[in-house]
């Protein structure tokens, strides 16, 4: 069992490794955290999520761009792979679940992968279906996992049109599920016309939107 001081020191070092995209260093610190018996959940949430929060801020303020963010995500996964088997989720600590994928006929998965990293770092369970995903697969995965949100990505108008068909398919099986859509051709108008719940123009905004939708869903359940 690590002392509180040691745990805090590891968290700080892990944050720095993520922010400065030191992949090997991030893995080394995660190994050390496991070896000294630090709480893997706390280290993940405060070290990894804390680090990615700073990365999101830097992305928002145009200090970091796509390459830097991808490298931070690489460092994140190097540490997360080590910590994940040791995580015991604390009461009230878990975030929601999302099904995430790129629409059928579309292979542009860069934005989707950045979103995945930021959501996983923030404690969400992400069911990543990859790219060029058949419509029915989204429906099946949502039902199988009972995910709160389905997130659909499309970078082309030819793949975007599949969203219009897919949303009723998902909502028919589960009317409460929330749908977020994103990608170059998608705007508020698309959200309105296709019956989605929201959109976001980058990963940090997607996380903020997801948090809001999760809160609404949980209030609905509690009521």
């Amino acid at each position: 069992m690590a002392t509180k001081e040691k745990e805090q020191e590891l968290i700080k070092r892990l944050q720095d490794a993520i922010i400065n995209y030191k992949v090997a260093e991030a893995k080394k610190i995660a190994d050390e955290a496991v070896a000294v018996g630090a709480d893997a959940y706390t280290v993940t949430m405060e070290g990894l999520a804390g680090g990615m929060e700073v990365v999101s801020e830097k992305f928002d303020s145009h200090e970091y761009f796509v390459p830097e963010t991808l490298l931070c995500a690489k460092a994140l996964y190097a540490a997360l792979d080590v910590l994940k088997p040791h995580i015991q989720v604390k009461e009230g600590g878990a975030q929601g679940q999302v099904v995430l994928g790129v629409m059928q006929g579309d292979v542009h998965d860069l934005g989707k992968n950045i979103i995945k990293a930021i959501f996983e770092a923030s404690g969400w369970t992400v069911h990543d279906l990859g790219r060029d995903v058949p419509l029915q697969k989204f429906v099946d995965e949502q039902l199988k996992t009972d995910s709160d949100i389905v997130m659909l990505s499309a970078m082309m108008t030819t793949s975007m049109v599949g969203i219009k068909k897919l949303i009723p398919m998902i909502k028919e099986k589960n009317p409460k599920v929330k749908i977020m859509i994103g990608g170059a051709p998608i705007t508020e108008k698309t959200v309105e016309e296709y019956g989605a719940d929201t959109t976001a123009d980058n990963a940090p905004n997607a996380l903020r939107e997801a948090m809001k939708m999760l809160e609404t869903l949980r209030k609905g359940k509690a009521a």
């Binding site: 991808l70 292979v107 108008t157 030819t158 170059a184 051709p185 998608i186």
Partner: protein, 356 residues
């Protein structure tokens, strides 16, 4: 009809690019792949480029149907990558793309060296673009603007490697990437020359990653600065006009000016150093002409013809004064959008864009 209204499309475009007012605002809604529907072939067949005659016919009949002032030779962004050896997928009704499960560059330490100096005139896809320009030039070379197209060096490289791995390579394997880019520069340069010789009046260089959406200014200029400078200098020396395309958000107009000094940029969003289209016009409107910026998805594709007209009017109101403006979509006209909306764009230019 006044003298000014008797300009040919080519004169109209040339006049506005000199920041002078032509008879009316030129309209060029970037109807590229969508022309396959007029030609009556699938997008996959169109992209493979085996039937140049059909592509020429598709562009010419689109011109007849829509009435735009210029043709842009974008097929898709994988033309150059395919000829460098990238394994391709040609879906019937979707945009062609590399097979990212089997990228050309797998091992960054070794595989960037595989980029070889190829002759665009002897390739499959680049040659089909050159030949299409040649075919078009014979018919409309004296009346309409023909704009060749080159996907920028780092864009092509990202197709060969896969974008995600490529972006991290810029930081992790910069020397390998740079060495490969300098080989690629020669090929892209030659491709631009071949298109001009075939009859292109301008070459549009797509510097997609020069925006806040993707790369920092430092990283962009380090890798693509030399490439774009080489190609654009060659284009200018060959007597053709330099245009750029970038549909990213917050485009680096200052970097574009520094490295390419373009006559025009085709864009969907404002420059990174302004906050509105009015500001953009005030800051950049007298230096770099704007080709844009009708939103392809929400307006060209999902909008009603009246909404298209309303958008066009608003853009003309802001940008037409003094020339330096071609009314167009901010990115390629969606291949699956109603073609009558493209015609409405041209009609709007005629209705609201007449200079008095």
């Amino acid at each position: 009809m006044s003298r000014k209204e008797e300009m040919t499309s080519l004169e109209r475009v040339a006049t506005t690019l000199q920041f002078k007012e032509p008879d009316r605002v030129p309209a060029a809604p970037l109807v590229c792949g969508a022309s396959c529907r007029v030609a009556g072939i699938s997008l996959g067949e169109w992209s493979e480029g085996d039937n140049v005659e059909m592509m020429v016919r598709g562009h010419l009949e689109s011109l007849e149907l829509i009435g735009h002032d210029g043709v842009v030779m974008l097929v898709d962004l994988s033309v150059e990558a395919a000829d460098f050896g990238c394994e391709m997928v040609f879906p019937h009704y979707d945009t062609a793309h590399p097979n990212y499960d089997n990228p050309f560059i797998k091992n960054p330490k070794e595989d960037y060296k595989k980029i070889a100096r190829i002759n665009p005139r002897k390739t499959k896809r680049m040659k089909s673009v050159i030949d299409t320009i040649s075919g078009l030039s014979k018919v409309i070379g004296k009346t309409h603007a023909i704009v060749g197209f080159v996907y920028g060096s780092i864009g092509v490289m990202s197709m060969l490697r896969g974008p995600e791995a490529f972006f991290t390579d810029l930081v992790e394997y910069p020397e390998e990437v740079e060495a490969a880019l300098r080989v690629m520069d020669e090929v892209l340069n030659e491709y631009a020359v071949a298109q001009i010789e075939a009859g292109a009046h301008s070459i549009c260089y797509d510097h997609l990653y020069a925006s806040q959406s993707v790369l920092s200014k430092n990283l962009w200029e380090k890798f693509e600065g030399p490439s774009i400078k080489k190609v654009c200098t060659t284009v200018r020396n060959a007597g053709a006009l330099v245009s750029l395309h970038n549909c990213g958000n917050g485009i680096y107009f200052d970097m574009s000016e520094k490295w390419a000094n373009p006559h025009a940029i085709s864009h969907a969003y404002v420059a990174d150093d302004v906050d509105s289209w009015e500001e953009h016009k005030a800051k950049w409107g007298g230096k770099i002409a704007t080709i844009g910026w009708i939103p392809p998805g929400p307006v060209a594709m999902l909008g009603t013809p009246d909404e298209v007209e309303e958008e066009c009017k608003a853009e003309i109101d802001i940008f037409a004064k003094g020339g330096g403006f071609i009314l167009a979509t901010g990115c390629e006209y969606p291949v699956n959008a109603p073609l009558l909306n493209a015609r409405r764009i041209v009609e709007a230019a005629k209705k609201y864009g007449v200079y008095k």
